[in-house]
């Protein structure tokens, strides 16, 4: 960012500052939570959430009303993707190989048991490709509507439902499939 732009936008008049405090700052938890799940770590999330909030402050004059949380989370999401590109680009290219993860027939009970393990649930979510993880986090943890998710992730609203469907099916698969260790044991002849 050039010093000129920053110098010009850094200062909000008291009214704008108050509006920012009222409209945007209350969503700091949402900003942090989304960063934490996209980056899979609290320390990096803290940095990126901070940077995002500063960016939001700087460009607050460009916010012309509407859904402040969605506006902020859009900035957060972009910052997270930029961070991943720079520091962990493998996260952005890992796609879920459906052939390698055949859909087991899952009973609701099996899924309920697997899902009740917080650690396993966290790992399973973190294993999902980031594009599936983000819709799940926005819907399930942030309680966003499809319209808000569409705005935050820059996809047409019509594709949010299918993205969520695919994300949930993948989560279900990861939760109910054997762990890596179990799989290796099976491959080396430990199991049929």
């Amino acid at each position: 960012m050039s010093a000129g732009v920053e110098g010009k936008l850094d200062v909000l008049d008291p009214q704008d500052q108050a509006r920012f405090e009222q409209l945007v700052l209350p969503h700091l938890d949402a900003a942090f939570n989304l960063s934490r799940w996209l980056l899979r770590g609290r320390a990096d999330a803290e940095d990126v959430a901070q940077e995002s909030m500063l960016r939001a402050f700087r460009f607050f004059r460009g916010f012309h009303g509407g859904d402040a949380r969605a506006w902020l989370l859009q900035i957060v999401r972009n910052a997270c993707y930029t961070w991943l590109e720079k520091n962990r680009s493998v996260d952005l290219t890992t796609e879920f190989n459906e052939e390698l993860h055949p859909q087991p027939s899952v009973s609701p009970e099996t899924l309920a048991i697997a899902g009740d393990n917080r650690e396993r649930l966290t790992r399973a979510l973190e294993e999902l490709p980031v594009r599936f993880r983000e819709v799940l986090i926005l819907r399930e943890l942030e309680g966003c509507s499809y319209k808000e998710i569409a705005a935050i992730t820059s996809v047409p609203i019509g594709t949010v439902m299918s993205a969520l469907a695919r994300a949930r099916q993948r989560l279900q698969r990861v939760l109910t499939q054997p762990t890596v260790q179990q799989k290796q044991a099976a491959e080396t002849g430990g199991r049929p």
């Binding site: 700052l25 939570n33 899902g115």
Partner: protein, 251 residues
């Protein structure tokens, strides 16, 4: 998996995002499609597991402090160099948290707020989650306000306002008694599309107030005081829906 709907519409239904006609179509489909019934149950279980696991991670106090420093200083020095700036609300909250920790106040599990107000919100969200367990939602199941209102008589020392808003899209589902922070409260249950809203009500001596809102664990709440009653509405519906219900209840 062969039924295509498990990959699409089922999720819109689960999330309460289908319009009434499409939701009704899907409900008809459920009668004849065992696969969708199983898939729906599995997805509902997954949804409750996620909600129960407490996966939401709140911003640490260190981040709030850094931001206060970054955002507060330039504005203060350039706009109001002499006058003391109004302290940021959340800085006060952060300070409260530090004080609370230093006093050895044990944070309840799942309590993500730090003031007394959010402690109540936390208890309310817990009570909301509890109510979603099978068989816990209503003690009196009726969409008729003239059945629900008398049901509370004799069970409480106050008379909660009971109204049905079926025409406004918030049909009354029933009511129950609950205990929040050691106090017996009345709860009205409203539906909004496929979602449920719990409205917790108890008497107060405080004056009427403007609504305050927030969210925890992905649930939104809105709270206000009116006519010597304190009301807390909580649900996974959008904050806009809760605001709409608040307007109806304060009319």
């Amino acid at each position: 998996m062969t039924c295509e709907l498990t990959k699409t519409v089922l999720h819109g239904y689960l999330d309460g995002e289908l319009d009434a006609a499409r939701a009704a179509d899907f409900e008809r489909h459920l009668i004849s499609c065992a696969e969708c019934v199983t898939a729906l149950e599995a997805q509902e279980n997954l949804h409750s597991s996620i909600q129960r696991a407490g996966l939401y991670e709140r911003a640490p106090a260190s981040l709030r402090q850094k931001l206060q420093k970054e955002l507060g200083t330039p504005t203060r020095s350039s706009v109001t160099p002499i006058r003391n700036p109004a302290p940021w609300r959340w800085l006060a909250i952060a300070a409260t948290l530090l004080l609370a920790i230093s006093l050895g106040w044990r944070l309840l599990p799942g309590l993500r707020g730090t003031s007394g107000e959010t402690a109540i919100a936390s208890a309310i969200v817990d009570a909301h989650l509890r109510s979603l367990q099978p068989g816990h939602l209503e003690d009196v199941q009726s969409t008729d306000q003239h059945t629900v209102k008398p049901w509370f008589d004799g069970k409480l020392t106050f008379a909660p306002p009971v109204h049905d808003f079926v025409n406004e899209g918030f049909p009354l589902q029933g009511g129950r008694l609950d205990v929040v922070q050691g106090r017996t409260v009345a709860v009205l249950v409203y539906a909004r599309r496929k979602h449920l809203i719990n409205v917790f009500i108890w008497p107060t001596t405080e004056p009427d107030s403007e609504p305050q809102s927030g969210s925890q664990l992905g649930y939104h709440w809105i709270a206000w005081r009116k006519s010597s009653m304190e009301l807390y509405a909580v649900s996974d519906v959008s904050p806009e829906d809760l605001t709409a219900l608040h307007h109806l209840l304060t009319q």
